[in-house]
């Protein structure tokens, strides 16, 4: 059973490694953040499987932290990190109309 669980963990790790290709090739920043979402979800699954395979209970709490941080990454990217093209203000933070003197 432990060998099977470790095999599942290695397969999921291979998924993460394949997702790195999108990080390299991704034409926009948003594609790379989508790949980061893949890392978050798959990392949670890897930690859950390893917590059973290695009988390590704290890994489940680490998985919970991973799930929370994956959300924070995307929200921070949308609110702060996304470099906007000039003349296209964000819908979340509309620019104030310029007052005529």
């Amino acid at each position: 059973m432990t060998a099977f669980l470790l095999g599942v963990a290695i397969f999921l790790l291979a998924n993460v490694a394949a997702g790195l290709v999108r990080v390299i090739r991704g034409p926009t920043q948003a594609d790379r953040v989508v790949a980061a979402q893949l890392f978050g979800t798959t990392g949670v699954a890897i930690l859950l499987v390893l917590s059973v395979a290695m009988d390590a209970r704290p890994l489940r709490d680490v998985a919970l932290i991973f799930a929370l941080l994956a959300v924070v990454i995307s929200v921070a990217f949308v609110k702060r990190g996304w470099v906007r093209a000039p003349g296209q203000p964000s819908r979340a933070e509309p620019s104030l109309p310029r007052e005529e003197p």
């Binding site: 999921l12 948003a30 979402q37 893949l38 979800t41 949670v44 949308v78 964000s90 819908r91």
Partner: protein, 137 residues
Amino acid sequence: MSVELMVNGLTVVLLVIGCFFFLAGTVGLLRFPDLYCRLHALTKADALGLGFVTAGVALQLGAWHEILLLAALWLLVLSAAATVCHILASEALAQGVEPIQAGAGRAGSMDSEVDASSAEDGSEGGDGARARRGVSP
């Protein structure tokens, strides 16, 4: 003994199904041509795969509170995936990232790879246009 064997077998089945959905999400992330398509593939398939993996892992645990922790974790990931998909897609749309429309071909593809069939279609269209131009005068 037999019950333990059944539980282990069910765990194996659930983990294999979960791995299949994770593989589907990764393939979608790598192969789909558009940011919106990639978001669609990744957030749904990975959340479902994580649900199967969580169920398989929960069968191996003894205590109820640990199973409840796993259920809460899956619900958190589900709602987080839906929310993240929505905010990324709506922000991309607000910034003018054009989604690929059905029937528009792959001209608007953000991926640099153009497969042979669409290249042939483009050349045929070019021949037809030249033929029409040749006929008209």
